[in-house]
Symmetry: C2
Subunit: 478 residues, 2 copies
């Protein structure tokens, strides 16, 4: 289907116009967050069939309008559902350029500009976490970054495994908090150790790993003849937004010489903030860090950095030295492919570099501080209203809470928890159906609770208050 | 950095203009493929530093121009370096929309449109390979898809491994051709079996796995007390573009009930072509297939489908049932997250869906046929010229060759091979420095050879002939 230059030009111009309108529409709340249309009905409305013959490029503008119409508006100030939110025009521009340039991150030769941008970004992020000599690479998400860290940890403890696999006497075991992300557990399954190789360590009431429980768990594992090779501390847990105490955890891991990985997928961005970076105190003692700029920094998915304190860790673990691709030139340190678990790798650096140009370090710092202020204000509002209960003392930008409507306030104990939990999921379903707000829930301490994620700088107090009003109203009959 | 709507509009409009100019510039050969600037020099020219304070959005247009100026033009008709090429305006439009929508592929709730598009694409691709009841999911590249297939194969053979890891008596072993992609080897290392768990099977002179050698290798492994759990056939090998004989391989694997995976990262797209799909004859007998639309179909990186013949394979292998995300509703079959190794997952479906609208099935079929015709014509041209030697009989769209300049034609045997190989890498370096062509090389049968990848529909015979002219000219003194 060769297209004429003029048709291409006109279509891209029209797309840019629509993009501008789409981004502007969020500001005035003129549009809902989502239109909850069930799959069968939406399939009918959209007409998704793949045609036998091609259609003119210009016609696809209509399809674009449909996609924008029926997709969830994750940039809407009332979207609280995921650990990302808002729109960043500079990062969107970066993504548009990425699509044009369309290259792959294995060699400097094929991706000179994107490689240098990634190197610069990794260097800066490493410096921010205190890895002065570090190395790193972008990965397609936090799960993949956590897997890469686990592989590096294994390679250090069981260097024979890369070539000859695990031996019966390896008995690897690693530790994570009971509120850590499931991708850390799954890494054990992928790596052939099984889910049983993961020991979940108890948390304090705020959802932070207890260093004393970790120490005891390590001692038990050693007594059982197992080999602890990694501890994963979480900096910004998925539900509660809690930060494990890295310094205290390092006190436990260092005497045993255990690899310490910090899953800061959510929380890494607090390093921008002079006020809040103390949440990650001790992170320079870690061996590796996962940090996802696509969360708190607001660049489009996905953008996840795998950072390593010691240079050489990733290359030693992952290099396969494929001769058809890597030609071992003097600039080979700029061939990032051998650091990665991917071969062809999408460029995720350009969008982050553009975003960094627009915000600057200071802009990101203000952004992070602002999210914490929003979280504190939201917490205060919950306390000011009857019936709202914090489920956890908020640790960062997430606030977990329940609402006890008047008709349930006489209940106590288990019965109360169960009724309030059931009310939470029913009301959350109604909210989703209405589409004016999107907020997620998770089971915490035995029952569902709302998880408010405050990660859009354009969200105002009137947005969060309107959510609480609506929860109150819907809970009256739920 | 709050930006005004008008500034956003103006910047996106300008970006769309530049995009149109960028795409048009390739047609006339007015621009080089690449400007080979070494890392230190390019860093200086670009000024990549990350600022303390943000810059106005409109200023970033200058940065965009720099990125376009110094990036390798992978869409240029004289870019032959990677297994992708050309530009697809419809797919670029899809990527632009993806950046705007910015969502994640774990739940239907968060990504209704993109999920339905992915489901439709996977259904169609499954039907094309003959998996009538199949399931599947997109992954961030062929390496990841191959890993997912290997994990599913392991889960079938060693169902205890997910929970409790490998047992000493598992002794897993898998088989791939000696010309298979390195990601298949690495999967064994990731999975804790080590590189030793992979047995490389000999190929015929065209680079296709020999079924008799496979049968013998399986028998040897069984005699050694090992458990063969997977055979990986390659459909479109990375260097030679060879297709392993799937039907004959299935004859070997089926009596042993071994999982058969087909790595059709490059070759899957031949299923569009009535003329060439016989290269994958027998693929419905496979258990899983990797197929990368970002290669022969020309959509931007990355777009890779992991296809499974039996529904349930991916979910059983990968599901972690994270309660905070997956709420077990009736539409849960549209929550693709539990099929994947990722949690947050970038949307790769929209670009492919848009590309499919523009090309149609017939357009893709023509495209594939055209690449094969280009390959045949290029091969004929090599034979018509003195000194050019095919290294392999071309099997698909790749053509591997060497050029023996007049001054080396008197040499014979090892000395000749060595001199010609050295000449190949020297000339290739010169070509890369000049930047008018980009073509890769790889070691084949003991010495470097050029690997011509013909995957841009806008490449003409004058482009390929000009490359050969230039190789002849540069080899005269090399």
């Amino acid at each position: 289907m060769p297209q004429l230059g003029t048709e291409i030009d006109a279509t891209l111009q029209r797309a840019a116009q629509l993009a501008g309108e789409y981004l502007a529409a969020h500001h005035g709340h003129e549009v809902p967050v989502a239109r909850a249309v069930p799959p069968a009905e939406l399939t009918k409305r959209l007409g998704l069939a793949l045609p036998q013959q091609g259609r003119p490029l210009s016609e696809l503008i209509t399809d674009m309008q449909q996609v924008l119409e029926y997709s969830v508006r994750t940039g809407h100030p009332r979207f609280f559902n995921q650990l990302f939110g808002g729109f960043d025009p500079a990062a969107i521009l970066g993504e548009w350029i990425t699509a044009l340039v369309n290259t792959s991150m294995y060699t400097y030769e094929a991706a000179p500009v994107a490689t240098l941008m990634e190197v610069e970004l990794i260097r800066r992020m490493n410096r921010m976490v205190g890895f002065e000599r570090g190395e790193g690479v972008f990965a397609p998400g936090g799960s993949n970054s956590n897997l890469m860290a686990a592989l590096a940890a294994r390679h250090r403890a069981f260097p024979h495994a890369k070539q000859s696999g695990h031996r019966a006497d390896d008995k690897p075991v690693f530790f994570l908090s009971e509120e850590a992300h499931y991708s850390v557990l799954r890494a054990g399954a992928i790596m052939g150790m099984g889910l049983d190789a993961a020991v979940e360590v108890a948390c304090d009431p705020q959802g932070r790993m207890r260093p004393d429980a970790l120490a005891a768990a390590i001692d038990r594992a050693l007594a059982d003849g197992r080999t602890p090779f990694m501890v994963v501390a979480t900096a910004g847990s998925t539900v509660a937004g809690a930060f494990d105490p890295i310094d205290a955890i390092a006190e436990v891991t260092e005497p045993h010489d255990i690899w310490l990985h910090v899953d800061a997928s959510l929380g890494g961005s607090v390093m921008f903030s002079e006020r809040h970076r103390q949440l990650m105190r001790g992170v320079p003692r870690a061996h590796s860090v996962t940090w996802n700029p696509h969360k708190m920094m607001g660049v489009p998915l996905s953008c996840s950095a795998t950072l390593m304190r010691e240079p050489g860790s990733l290359r030693a673990t992952n290099a396969m030295d494929a001769d058809y691709l890597f030609h071992g030139k003097s600039d080979a340190c700029y061939d990032l492919g051998d650091l990665s678990l991917q071969c062809g790798r999408r460029v995720d650096a350009i969008k982050l570099w553009f975003s960094w140009q627009a915000h600057g370090h200071d802009g990101f710092a203000q952004r992070v501080d602002h999210f914490f202020e929003m979280s504190a204000a939201f917490r205060a509002e919950l306390e000011a209203r009857d019936g709202f209960e914090l489920v956890r003392e908020p640790q960062s930008t997430n606030v977990c809470f329940r609402y006890v409507p008047p008709q349930l306030r006489a209940l106590a104990g288990e019965a109360r928890l169960e009724a309030v939990g059931a009310c939470t999921t029913r009301v959350r379903d109604l909210l989703t159906q209405q589409g004016n707000f999107l907020i997620n829930y998770a089971t915490l301490d035995g029952a569902p609770a709302y998880r408010m994620a405050l990660l859009n700088a354009e969200t105002s107090e009137s947005d969060t208050h309107a959510l609480l009003d609506e929860i109150e109203a819907l809970s009256a009959d739920a």
